[in-house]
Every structure is written in structure tokens, then in C-alpha cells.
């Protein structure tokens, strides 16, 4: 007879090695999704026990208690209590502890015991504890706690054998009748009492060596030094950005030319017409323009996961906390915002390291203001066409100065917006004080990193890809219908819905100095910012598109005033012109509302900035 699926839940404090245990148990058999209605990541995996029992295991968000002070921790509490919507009550709870650091987990376990769920305490990273001279009387600990205790070494092959055997043993005799749940939120004095009880049990069962981890102390002496630490951080970031731009570039070019070749093949194989245009311009070019970002996303996540596994992320947050705190940002927002300079999509995905909902939302909302690499083609086109390449004050290149100004404008506005959000929009959420465990350093494990990158890349391709794909099809449709009448010599786009919308929008955009051709180019530019360059080319009926960027520049220089060009630059600092980013915001916040807020506020900022820029420029005689 087939036994029903056994449901396990992994509970533990942050840094307990819960995720590496999860990876060791399930390998790549993982499903990553969101819990309904919240931004919390739900990770479920599957494996089979030595006795052949099918098991589903859910990796619950790390928590220090069951109080539920954040959406993540509420999920953990509700899940264990069987109150989470649409979730099965776990048959067995695995409470995961870092063997080198039992204090906080034992306290959590004493609290978990009150829920009445069958439970195992897993002493993870037992090898590291042994190496450091920490000895644990496992039998006595189990007796004192009244819970089975098993040791594991998640990162070693076969390191979970004891755990699997014990799971089989316990699942065979699990009581059918529901257990008594006597858990309720602990008062401060009860909390204190459980910590005392935990400390007493640890004193009885665990012998600690006199000295803490010397490697961690040595590394921290440099890495957390107020000055040297910031230099190390800057160096790490420098390498990371070199990697994102330099290493990813050949891969991105390879992907791009692959899609170009594929498009050409479709173009050559199929007869001219709608199907050919749909496949080449809608499907292949559209999906291709998103997939080319995959190398950048993989490299950014490689760095983020390595630094996180090593234990450095908490240190980066420590170093940057006060510096970013002035703008109402949490120290942990630093890396996601930095990633957004490459592309807002991995940046927004990386905000998952921020556990507080308010801080995470603020970071997601301002991430698209960081100057991403897709703006660079637009900036360079306009700057090279309109800004003279002369030196100011003898040594500063004026074009470079304008480019720097655009980056600075993005950063400054992000800080201002964050400040305003803090005061006007998210006041109801209690700000998270910066209280963070700085874990001992650990060697990152390749397998864990590989699984992490794999799940994120898959998520990016599958989920964002489907939304982006439908947007691309829509934009292709708008730019292709209705078709030009037979024998017309003007560009096909002139007859399309996109052109009609462009012309309809033109009066709205006239105050900021945009003509209808720009309005039309902005529509396909919604798919991805740099597409606007090619679209301008199409609209001005230039052949060659993106390849002939220099030529487009020459045409623009004759057709636009300097004021219009500057206005366009100001527009691009702010404009929410990236369907992929909006799709990711929608997915990560689990809400159309926050996507709408982002779109609206950026559009308002873009319009205002362009309006001011254009009118000031005209007043100064650049019209």
C-alpha cells in the first residue's frame, strides 16, 4: 500500500544552515513560489527516505521566535500551527540548529514544543562544532528537551543519513490523533524564562571551548574596520561590477546574435507577411531582448549568493547601515540597489534579503531609478548627437560630465523618493531597527550556490518571461496594425495603432518638447528602454536600426532642438519604460497596486523633470 506523502517543515533561526540542509535533502527537486497574498518566498522540495517514503519538505523563513513580527515570521508561525491558508499541517517539524551556536535555537525549540507538533532537533554543521572543540552530549540533550536529537553535516555527502533514518523511524509511529497545541504568544517574562531554561540545558549538555572562532575574528578585524572595511567593500563591488559588465558582455552578445540569426532564418524561410513579422519581431526579438539579460542576472546572483553563504552580506549591511540610514533605507538595501545599476530586475529580486516589509517595498520602489545598463544606449546616442565633445576646466570631458550628471540625478532622486516614502506612504509599518546577527564565516558550498542560481534563473525565465512575452506580443501588435495600404512608401509604423496613439499623445507631450515621432518611439520603448533607439530609427525611416546608431544621431541633430534632446535625457532618468521591471515588481510585491504606484510616480517625475528641463532650456535660448 502506498503511504501518503509525508509533510516535513524546516524551522530555524537565520544562519542556522537551514537552506543548505534543505538543498542537501532535496537537491534540485525544488519548487519556488510565493505564499498567497504576501511577498514571502515559499520553498518546497521533495525526496524519498531510505524506506521509500515520499516526503515533501518546506523550508520556512528563518525566525527567532513564533511571535510573528514580520510577514515571513507570521508564515512560519501559521505554517507550524496549521493555520496557513491552503497549507497542510506538517507531520513532522525539523528544528535546525547551528551546532556552534545553540543558544537561540534551543530557546526557539522550547517555544516550538508548545505547539504539540512532532519534532526533531537537527544539530547541523556538527563537523564545524567538533573541529572547534565543542562537544554536545546528544543523548542527554534529547532527554532534557524531550525531543529526538540528531546530528547532520548538510554539506557532506551522506551527512544527512542519520536524519533520514530517524525520519523513517518516527514517521512509522506518528500518532494519528491530533496533538494538543498549548502555544500562545509569550510575554517578556516568559521569553526571559525560556532563554534561562535554554541556557541551563546548554550548560548541562554542551561544553564550549574558551576561545571563539579565530578566523572570523581575524577577518572581521579588517572587514569591519571603519575605514579598511569600507575599502574592502568598495573593492568587492568594483570586481562585481567589472564582472557584471565585462564577463557578461560576450555572453550577451552571443545570445543577441543567436536571436538575430534565428530571426534572420525565420525572415528568410517564411514568406513576407504577418506570420513572418510576428515570429521575427514579436516573438524572437521580443523574448530575445529579455533573455539577453540572463548572463548579468546569473553573475549578480553568483556574487550575491557567494557573499551571503560566506557570511559577508550581514557585514556589508553593518558598514552601510548608518550611511544609508539618513535616507530612510535599511543597511540590507545596499546590495539590491547596487545590482540595479546593471539591471533593476536582479536588483528587485535581490531585495528578498530584506526581511522587513516596509524596507523591502521602499527598496523595490526606488530600484528602477538607479541608472540601469539599458539606459546607456539611449544616453550615449543623445549625448553624442547633442553635447559637444569639448573639455571644461581644461580636463573634464563635457560628454562624460553629462553622463555622470545623469547617474547622479538617478541616485539623488532615489534617495529623495525613499525619504518621501518613509514620511508619507509607509508610515504604518514599524521601521525595522538594525539588529542583525553577524554569523561566523563559512566556506561557500558550490552545490548550494549552483542550486540557488539555477532556481533564480529558472524563475526569471519562466515567470517574468511569460508576462514579458505577452507584453511583447501586444507591442508588436500595436506597431504592426493596421497594415500600410499597398504601394505606400512611408514607414509601415506610420499607419499603425502605435502611430495613432503617438499622435494622440503628442499634444500631451508637446509641453515637454516631444514631437509625435518621439511619442511613437516611446511606445515600443516600453518593452525595454534601449528599443526606443531602434524605434526612433524606424520612425525616421532610417535603414539599419540599432547598428546605425551614429547615423540616427546625425538625423536627430538636424530634427531636434537641444532643448528637446535635454528633455529626452531628463525623461529617461525617471520614465518607467521597462515592461520587464514592472512585471517583476508585480511578481515580487504580489500586487498590481505597487506596480501601479511605481509606474505612476515615475511617470509623474519624468514628466515634471522634462517639463522643467525643456522650459529652462528654451528660456536660455536652446529651443
Amino acid at each position: 500500500m502506498e503511504l501518503p506523502l509525508l509533510h516535513l517543515a524546516l524551522v530555524g533561526t537565520p544562519n542556522s544552515g537551514k537552506t543548505s540542509l534543505f538543498n542537501a535533502l532535496t537537491g534540485s527537486r525544488q519548487k519556488v513560489a510565493n505564499y498567497p497574498g504576501v511577498t514571502v518566498e515559499r520553498k518546497e522540495g521533495f525526496f524519498v527516505t531510505p524506506l521509500g517514503r515520499q516526503v515533501s519538505v518546506v523550508d520556512l523563513p528563518g525566525t527567532y521566535s513564533l511571535r510573528g513580527r514580520s510577514p515571513d515570521e507570521e508564515i512560519t508561525r501559521d505554517f507550524v500551527l496549521g493555520k496557513a491558508t491552503g497549507e497542510t499541517v506538517p507531520d513532522l517539524v525539523l528544528c535546525v540548529a547551528d551546532s556552534t551556536n545553540l543558544r537561540l535555537t534551543i530557546r526557539l525549540l522550547l517555544e516550538l514544543k508548545r505547539t504539540g507538533r512532532p519534532m526533531i532537533l537537527v544539530l547541523n554543521m556538527f563537523d564545524i562544532a567538533s573541529r572547534r572543540g565543542i562537544t554536545v552530549d546528544v543523548e542527554r540533550l534529547a532527554k532534557e528537551l524531550g525531543v529526538p536529537v540528531v546530528t547532520s553535516i548538510a554539506v557532506r555527502r551522506g551527512g544527512t543519513a542519520d536524519l533520514l533514518a530517524l525520519t523513517d523511524e518516527i514517521s512509522a509511529k506518528l500518532a494519528a490523533e491530533p496533538q494538543e497545541n498549548s502555544w500562545r504568544a509569550l510575554s517578556v517574562s516568559e521569553l526571559r524564562a525560556t532563554q534561562r531554561e535554554a541556557d541551563r540545558i546548554i550548560a548541562d549538555c554542551v561544553s564550549l571551548p574558551a576561545s571563539p572562532d579565530t578566523w572570523t575574528a581575524r577577518i572581521d578585524a579588517v572587514v569591519l574596520h571603519p575605514v579598511a572595511g569600507l575599502i574592502v567593500l568598495a573593492l568587492i563591488l568594483f570586481v562585481m561590477f567589472q564582472a557584471v559588465f565585462a564577463w557578461a558582455k560576450p555572453l550577451m552578445e552571443l545570445l543577441q546574435s543567436g536571436f538575430d540569426v534565428l530571426g534572420e532564418f525565420v525572415h528568410a524561410t517564411l514568406p513576407d507577411g504577418l506570420l513572418q513579422s510576428f515570429l521575427q519581431n514579436g516573438v524572437i526579438a521580443g523574448v530575445g531582448s529579455v533573455i539577453v539579460f540572463l548572463p548579468q542576472i546569473i553573475i549578480i546572483f553568483l556574487f550575491i549568493l557567494l557573499l551571503e553563504d560566506f557570511g559577508y552580506m550581514a557585514r556589508a549591511a553593518f558598514l552601510m547601515d548608518r550611511i544609508m540610514g539618513g535616507a530612510g533605507l535599511h543597511g540590507r538595501a545596499f546590495i539590491p540597489l547596487l545590482s540595479s545599476f546593471a539591471c533593476a530586475i536582479p536588483g528587485i529580486m535581490a531585495t528578498r534579503v530584506i526581511d522587513n516589509k516596509r524596507d523591502r517595498l521602499t527598496t523595490i520602489l526606488i530600484a528602477p531609478l538607479m541608472t540601469c545598463s539599458a539606459r546607456i544606449p539611449v544616453y550615449t546616442l543623445i549625448i553624442s548627437a547633442f553635447i559637444p565633445a569639448r573639455d571644461v576646466w581644461g580636463f573634464i570631458n563635457l560628454q562624460g560630465l553629462v553622463m555622470f550628471g545623469l547617474y547622479a540625478a538617478g541616485i539623488t532622486s532615489a534617495l529623495v523618493v525613499s525619504f518621501l516614502i518613509k514620511f508619507f506612504m509607509l508610515r504604518d509599518f514599524a521601521p525595522a531597527p538594525f539588529m542583525l546577527e553577524l554569523p561566523d564565516y563559512k566556506m561557500p558550498r558550490l552545490k548550494s550556490i549552483a542550486i540557488g542560481i539555477y532556481t533564480r534563473a529558472k524563475m526569471f525565465l519562466v515567470r517574468a518571461g511569460t508576462t514579458i512575452f505577452s507584453m511583447m506580443v501586444l507591442i508588436w501588435f500595436l506597431a504592426s496594425f493596421p497594415q500600410p495600404p499597398a504601394g505606400s512608401t512611408e514607414p509601415a509604423i506610420d499607419f499603425s495603432l502605435a502611430a495613432m496613439i503617438g499622435k494622440a499623445l503628442a499634444p500631451l507631450l508637446a509641453p515637454v518638447g516631444f514631437n509625435w515621432q518621439i511619442a511613437v518611439a516611446l511606445i515600443p520603448g516600453m518593452a525595454a528602454r534601449e528599443v526606443a533607439v531602434a524605434a526612433l530609427g524606424t520612425v525616421y525611416a532610417i535603414e539599419g536600426g540599432k547598428e546605425a546608431a551614429e547615423q540616427i544621431g546625425q538625423v536627430l541633430a538636424t530634427k531636434w532642438s537641444l532643448a528637446t534632446a535635454l528633455s529626452m535625457l531628463a525623461w529617461y532618468i525617471f520614465a518607467p519604460q521597462c515592461a520587464s521591471t514592472l512585471a517583476v515588481i508585480r511578481r515580487e510585491t504580489g500586487s498590481w497596486g505597487w506596480m501601479g504606484v511605481t509606474f505612476t510616480y515615475m511617470l509623474v517625475l519624468a514628466y515634471a523633470a522634462s517639463l522643467v528641463t525643456y522650459n529652462v532650456a528654451v528660456a536660455l535660448g536652446a529651443g
Binding site: 556552534t100 534561562r196 572581521d220 538594525f434 539588529m435 542583525l436
Partner: protein
């Protein structure tokens, strides 16, 4: 909390310098001026191991105003802002 021992040596951890070592005497969330409620702040501090009798040492300080601080609490290291550390009374 009433304390009859020499109160002059009691101070909030938030005022201590790098290198300071001491033992936690009690928690006084009211004195911290944190954005959190007193109960919430006290609960979080306890959950991170800041309980009476725990040995603390300030290992590192941030660049701006020596804030935040990295505190060794018995066997673990916790980063907190000085504002919240004002609630931890040490001697």
C-alpha cells in the same frame, strides 16, 4: 528594577566604547528611545540573546558616530544601533 549594588558602574551599552567588556545587568527598553514599543524592543533583545548575566564585548564600531556596533554576546555576534543598545544596562 531595583538594584542595591553600586549603581555608578551601571551604564547603557549604547554609551560604551569599542573594546568594552561587561555583563548585562538588566534591560531598560524605556530608556532607549527606539521606534519600537518597549515590549517589542525587549522581546527582540532577549531573542538575540541579550539576557541578564550574558557577557558582552563591543568588537567593532561603524564609521559615522561609531554606529552601529558589533557586540559579542556570549557565543554569538550581533550588530545593533547604539539607540537600541541604550536599553541594555551593563556593568
Amino acid at each position: 528594577m531595583t538594584d542595591t549594588t553600586d549603581t555608578r558602574s551601571h551604564m547603557p551599552l549604547g554609551l560604551a566604547q569599542r573594546g568594552y567588556t561587561g555583563v548585562i545587568q538588566h534591560l531598560a527598553a524605556k530608556q532607549a528611545g527606539s521606534a519600537l514599543s518597549d515590549v517589542e524592543l525587549e522581546s527582540r533583545l532577549i531573542e538575540l540573546g541579550f539576557v541578564e548575566g550574558a557577557r558582552v564585548e563591543i568588537l567593532h564600531e561603524g564609521l559615522v558616530g561609531g554606529d552601529p556596533i558589533a557586540v559579542r554576546v556570549d557565543s554569538i555576534t550581533i550588530a545593533v544601533r547604539r539607540r537600541e543598545a541604550m536599553a541594555i544596562i551593563v556593568a
